[in-house]
């Protein structure tokens, strides 16, 4: 149970970052997690169709508690709750129980945010936001579980797509304007909620050679003629999230559902960068979940004449975990606070800001992986058993360092805050130069 009155809590979630409303959201999600997910988390892996456990949980979270409409503007009956601090607090709590469910919920927001951003913050493409929201927001505000997805990765290196230095030149999903329609051809792979999403926000390119100029962000509902899916990936963890390929074969959607050029790219990058902070929160949640199990088990079980955690070799390790959780939490809170205040800290997508978010994620994801792996050693065989619960966190956390371009890209990005490292796919100085304007 999250005790918001304890001193530990106050130190972990300081008032300068977390306000009363955000605390309330956090508490709602924390209580939900304890009641609805914790008791069944060891069964999630077996729920292959998601019908028995995952979807009922998501229905309660997304529909009954209203998180499905978090980022939908008030004009459309949504909550217009765009604070990244709130979002991160929610993700942290969900990941404490299940990273997959956390991703499934977060990626609904992730898929919808570009339209909301356009509608509320980008006057030049407000119409696009309005058209998309007019058409699709009602779907997400009604009493039915819906999924959205932010679909950018492709079978060929997804890092090449997420590598912003490539300026969208390696996106192979082609969008062509024919009359009043976009005609889309290509394959996407891996997006969270793909295969079950009602709405995809799709990253495409009209002409790879023109880089950002040809970049297009297009909404595509599913089912839709010309859109099909492959089989679901069999992953070793994060099974509360669904991933598959999405094939576009002359899929035609109205022209008004897409935008192109630098503003599309800016919205795309904003969306990607915000996800780094969210994923740090996920890592902290996963760490916390694993830590809670370890703490309890090593307190009860006696080896060498005393509880495992009373041995100083174990205590030292537990101390490392405490430190990582505190540092990771401070990192995502500070970062989300800065994202929430661009008027003070500037644009999200500058090299400094993106570099900070991306490299911090790489760092924390690696630490979380390392600590959860080492923590299993203190649980003996119980750490390896499904019933012991811990091994689930071991499998889940591995995904957290693979998503969003992986560890390497993140660390390279960090360098960009200090020097102009060129880690583009074209090699230093070889990036074809095209004006990045429309």
């Amino acid at each position: 149970m999250l005790n918001q009155n304890s001193q530990w809590y106050k130190l972990q979630y300081p008032e300068c970052f977390v306000n009363e409303d955000q605390r309330m959201i956090q508490k709602v999600v924390a209580d939900f997690v304890d009641k609805e997910i914790m008791p069944v988390r060891y069964k999630l892996d077996e729920d292959e169709t998601h019908e028995e456990i995952v979807e009922p949980i998501l229905k309660k979270l997304q529909v009954d508690l209203g998180f499905q409409k978090t980022v939908i503007p008030k004009d459309y009956g949504g909550n217009e709750a765009l604070s990244l601090v709130s979002a991160a607090l929610k993700q942290e709590q969900l990941s404490r129980a299940d990273y997959g469910i956390s991703l499934a919920s977060a990626c609904v927001d992730w898929g919808l945010v570009p339209a909301t951003m356009a509608y509320l913050m980008f006057p030049s493409v407000k119409d696009w936001g309005k058209t998309v929201l007019d058409k699709f927001a009602p779907m997400f505000t009604e009493d039915k579980l819906r999924f959205a997805c932010f679909n950018m990765s492709e079978v060929q290196s997804a890092c090449d797509i997420e590598n912003n230095l490539n300026e969208a030149r390696l996106i192979r999903t082609r969008a062509e304007l024919q009359g009043n329609e976009w005609v889309i051809n290509g394959n996407k792979h891996w997006a969270s909620n793909s295969g079950i999403a009602d709405l995809h926000c799709l990253a495409c390119n009209m002409d790879p050679a023109s880089g950002v100029k040809g970049f297009a962000l297009i909404y595509v509902p599913v089912p839709w003629p010309g859109v099909s899916h492959g089989k679901f990936e069999v992953k070793c963890g994060a099974k509360g999230d669904r991933n598959t390929s999405t094939y576009f074969d002359n899929a035609r959607v109205p022209k008004e559902w897409g935008i192109q050029g630098s503003v599309a790219w800016e919205i795309f990058l904003n969306n990607v960068v915000s996800a780094f902070a969210m994923n740090i929160a996920n890592c902290v949640g996963i760490l916390q979940g694993a830590f809670d199990i370890l703490l309890e088990y090593t307190g009860d079980r006696v080896v060498g004449g005393k509880p495992i955690r009373e041995h100083l070799s174990t205590a030292m390790f537990i101390g490392e975990m405490v430190a990582a959780i505190s540092v990771g939490r401070a990192a995502f809170l500070e970062m989300c606070h800065q994202f929430d205040h661009p008027e003070i800290y500037g644009s999200w997508i500058t090299d400094s800001m993106a570099g900070k978010a991306r490299s911090s994620l790489s760092y924390i994801a690696r630490i979380a992986n390392d600590l959860i792996s080492r923590g299993m050693e203190f649980m003996g065989a119980q750490g390896f058993a499904r019933d012991g619960l811990y091994e689930k966190y071991y499998r889940d956390v591995a995904a957290a360092k693979l998503v969003l371009g992986g560890v390497q890209l993140g660390l390279f990005s960090g360098c960009r805050a200090f020097y102009d490292l060129d880690f583009s796919s074209f090699g230093p100085g070889k990036l074809p130069k095209e004006p990045a304007t429309d």
Binding site: S157, W190, V302, V303, G305, M376, G380, A385, A398, F426
Partner: protein, 411 residues
């Protein structure tokens, strides 16, 4: 560089041949089905592979020749086989080799009753399974796996009691986690005749799988290593002939600690095999997949990581082989039941297990999301190898045992 060039120093000609044979076997029989083993809950695939290994003589290799066995006592040979099999699947490697582990105490003690009873069966053509059961459930009173394996505890935490009644041992207690439990034809069970008697109370007693009073819990659901089966075992007034004790007071304790020590060397080899399976997979993938305009492995950052993997694998292999070689040559390197040998065996295991975890972890990182899915194999090696760190006394006790070779570590 030829794959195995460097270690030929430790190998005899027959080891080299066996290595090639197991390598080919794994390529042919295990690699094509390795993705299916996680779902093979009934062990239909695993059972077939184990039967083929039986056909190749693995099951009988260590049994004395007079029973039709191979009479092999070389730890170098055994460890080479562990590595090669684990390159395909470490669960299958475990299931295949634990049988020998279970019978080693009887073989080393020359226990005629046990060998007469089981020798013909295990040296025959059919697949039979053996199990070496020492770990107990433990809990808030202590007595989990490490307390039992810990030589400083002198058997005082063993709760499975063996009482001599006339010509029979009567056994009561519980065992947990032993490999091949629930599917074995014979169990070598670590008991105590008296927990206060120290090492003298330690008894290794052979129990047939069909024995009255022996029951099993449900199979454990694990993160990996599905090729190996584990479950709780309950002994309620289980009765076996008096002669089924491996040797006798004092000597059983030595045989028990010897088995722990040997398993450390062999699981070091197992870990190397597992790491190699992942390394070969990622090396190939990283050679084919183009990221940022060239194959992943042509990026300096990836090359550095691949080099670290290779360094880990080569050094871990060299070390387990050195430890195995020293064990096989006590006339040069001293008694095998010494703290010094335990230390070396534990280094082999602790180091190789850490290498396997590191290698599989990095392999996953280099493969991006493809490292996370069944179709690309690496995630399986990653899940499988984690237990190698945890079993056989875990990471902590393993390290204390390393220290015992250097000072009078009492932990």
């Amino acid at each position: 560089m030829s794959e195995h060039q460097h270690m030929d120093l430790f190998l005899k000609e027959e080891d080299r041949m066996a290595r090639e044979m197991f390598h080919g076997f794994v390529d042919k029989e295990i690699m094509p089905v390795r993705q299916k083993i996680d779902d093979d809950t009934e062990h239909r695939i695993v059972g077939k592979i184990l039967q083929r290994l039986t056909d190749m003589g693995v099951q009988k290799a260590a049994f004395p020749k007079e029973y039709g066995g191979g009479g092999s006592s070389s730890v170098v040979s055994a460890s080479i086989m562990h590595e090669e099999l684990a390159r395909g699947d470490s669960g299958i490697a475990t299931a295949a080799t634990v049988t020998t582990w279970a019978f080693l105490p009887a073989i080393l003690a020359g226990n005629k009753a046990v060998l007469d009873h089981y020798g013909p069966m295990f040296c025959g053509p059919d697949l039979k399974m053996g199990c070496f059961a020492m770990t107990e459930p433990g809990g808030s009173h202590g007595g989990g796996g490490c307390d039992i394996e810990n030589p400083s505890m002198h058997g005082c935490k063993i709760r499975t009691l063996a009482r001599l009644e006339g010509d029979e041992w009567v056994i009561n207690g519980q065992k947990a986690w032993a490999s091949n439990s629930g599917v074995s034809d014979a169990y070598c069970v670590l008991c105590t005749t008296d927990p206060d008697a120290g090492d003298e109370g330690i008894a290794l007693i052979y129990i047939p799988g069909s024995c009255k009073g022996l029951t099993f819990g449900k199979f454990e659901n694990k993160a990996g290593m599905q090729g190996d089966k584990n479950c709780m075992m309950y002994f309620e007034n289980v009765r076996v002939p008096k002669e089924f004790r491996a040797a006798g007071p004092g000597r059983d304790a030595q045989l028990f600690h010897n088995n722990v020590l040997l398993a450390r060397i062999n699981t070091g080899a197992l870990a190397v095999g597992n790491a190699r399976g992942a390394f070969e997979t990622v090396l190939k993938y990283a050679g084919e997949r183009i990221v940022a305009d060239k194959p992943i492995r042509q990026h300096s950052i990836a090359a550095g990581i691949l080099a670290d993997m290779a360094i880990g694998i080569e050094t871990a292999r060299t070390y387990y082989l050195a430890a195995a070689y020293m064990y096989d040559n006590p006339e040069t390197y001293g008694s095998v039941s010494s703290n010094s040998m335990l230390s070396k065996a534990s280094i082999a295991k602790c180091y190789a297990a850490d290498v396997a975890v590191m290698v599989t972890n990095k392999a996953m990182e280099l493969m991006g999301s493809y490292g996370y899915v069944r179709d690309y194999d690496v995630e399986k090696y990653w899940r499988d190898c984690k237990i190698i760190q945890l079993w056989e006394g875990g990471a902590q006790l393993g390290r204390f045992d390393v220290c015992r070779g250097y000072y009078d570590c009492s932990l």
